[in-house]
Subunit: 322 residues, 2 copies
Amino acid sequence: MTAQPTAEPIEGVYLCDHLDLPRLFAPTLDHVPGLRVYAPADVPDPARIRFALAWRPSPRAFDPFTGLSLVQSIASGVDGILSSASLPDQAQVARVRDPGQAHVMAGFAVWHVVWHHRGMGNYVRNAANGEWKRTSFGALVPPSDLTVGVLGYGLMGRTIAEAVAKLGFNVIAASNTDRSGTGAVQVVSGADACQIVAAKADFLINVLPLTDATRGLINADFLDRMKAGAVLIHLGRGEHVIEDDLLAALEQGHIGGASLDVFSTEPLPQDHPFWRHPKVLVTPHEASVLPAAAVVASLQQSLHETQAGLPLSTGVDRRKGY
Amino acid sequence: MTAQPTAEPIEGVYLCDHLDLPRLFAPTLDHVPGLRVYAPADVPDPARIRFALAWRPSPRAFDPFTGLSLVQSIASGVDGILSSASLPDQAQVARVRDPGQAHVMAGFAVWHVVWHHRGMGNYVRNAANGEWKRTSFGALVPPSDLTVGVLGYGLMGRTIAEAVAKLGFNVIAASNTDRSGTGAVQVVSGADACQIVAAKADFLINVLPLTDATRGLINADFLDRMKAGAVLIHLGRGEHVIEDDLLAALEQGHIGGASLDVFSTEPLPQDHPFWRHPKVLVTPHEASVLPAAAVVASLQQSLHETQAGLPLSTGVDRRKGY
């Protein structure tokens, strides 16, 4: 009996300055046969690194790794990877596209629609004070008289739109590509799709990817076209919103409320007026949370496809930005 | 030209000690031709009263109205009407069955599922303190690993079940009658249906009607059969729950949390421990709120059917209790 030749493990590196990726993923990745993933400081030979598991890598993070063929995002957004100056041209970029994550995002989005629609914050506050105070009776606008707009109609946007439709709201979604809606969801595409949807929405949910076309989209002009009293539920990227414009629209009362999960500076600084605004609910960029297992499964799929020379099933078009 | 004979208006009475029904409904009802609805003290001739618009009438409320043929509930529950000692045998009882109300209820139910699943209370509290604190990352159980149980599978239960299923949870519902589920919803019927569903649920939503069979259903034994750490979302009737048993199960930690909208005594007394329990969120019996227009439309439909000798489309089986 001869010993089987041991295949060399494929080597990878964690690249992120903001999250402790080894803590999050090593417990799972260390059990995957044939892989070895290092923190940058522990890499024995940078030239042997074939893939990176990354989130918001620093501008020069990729420099040492000249043999990189795959950069796997730990999330569905890849703007923080594509914007790294050192991202090598030859590397393919993959994102995570997980139905479970879309469901978690949809639950979060729906929760904020109901938070604003029903004034749930009043109930939470009254409960804390032991106060029985009926507030909705006779004063509630029925969902069938309200429209929820969704900006973005990929897996996330579609899952959100369908969940909201099940609560009786009218739903209209903006898609970058020419898609048709499913059942209760109306889809608008084309250059002005986001503006058209925004003008019709009582609740506007943003789950766009961050690209050159969407950066700064939600500015004074955009907010101005929204319905008086409309609510913004912002789960995309901080850079979509000109925050001072949003603050002004909230102060004027033209925007009736907001749920904000992402910001141009994260963590949102403690003295930022969003924290204290009575119509704003701030959450710490946790609208969707990926289980580590889903990220690892996505990495394995991408590695398999890279090695087999197949197109990546969750590959990113670097020019489009998603 | 002869004057058209003017038909006598049909006369009705508001019967409720708890809500100011004339304030809620007169603005709509006063514009309906052919109807005249009085507060009890203003009724000119009790014998001419043909219908009552009622919610929790007092035990002797029906006594003066000997010619009553219809009692229209302002809500989908009729237990407070059927339990009135003076409800005349000859009167038919109708409830409201409004898809809009079911949607509002579903939004409320879904909100509480996400409240507990995502620990949204932490975000709300941290936001009030201006604290950016990520809590879910890597620690969230995906919806696909969790089961939501729904007790009751009429219009309300079905609407809730379908909305929750769209968020990726497994859904199982208990029906009193032999029904089949739709797509993602598994339906259990039969005598033990509620117990079977309760034993499988991580989140258990109660929207049963109050009947002799469901009074006191959620007692120590029932809670004991639930999964350790399960959450109760109670939107039915206060009398479904033995409140001391629930409190004990919460204290022991066997029940991991609760959202309670209905109570054996309403308003819930200020010194009740439910208010202060950290795992309990109390709301003031407003899970579903009917727009006045839907109640009025239901009344008109019931009156039309009564006068035409047709079976009531939302008629109540007084023996079954719903």
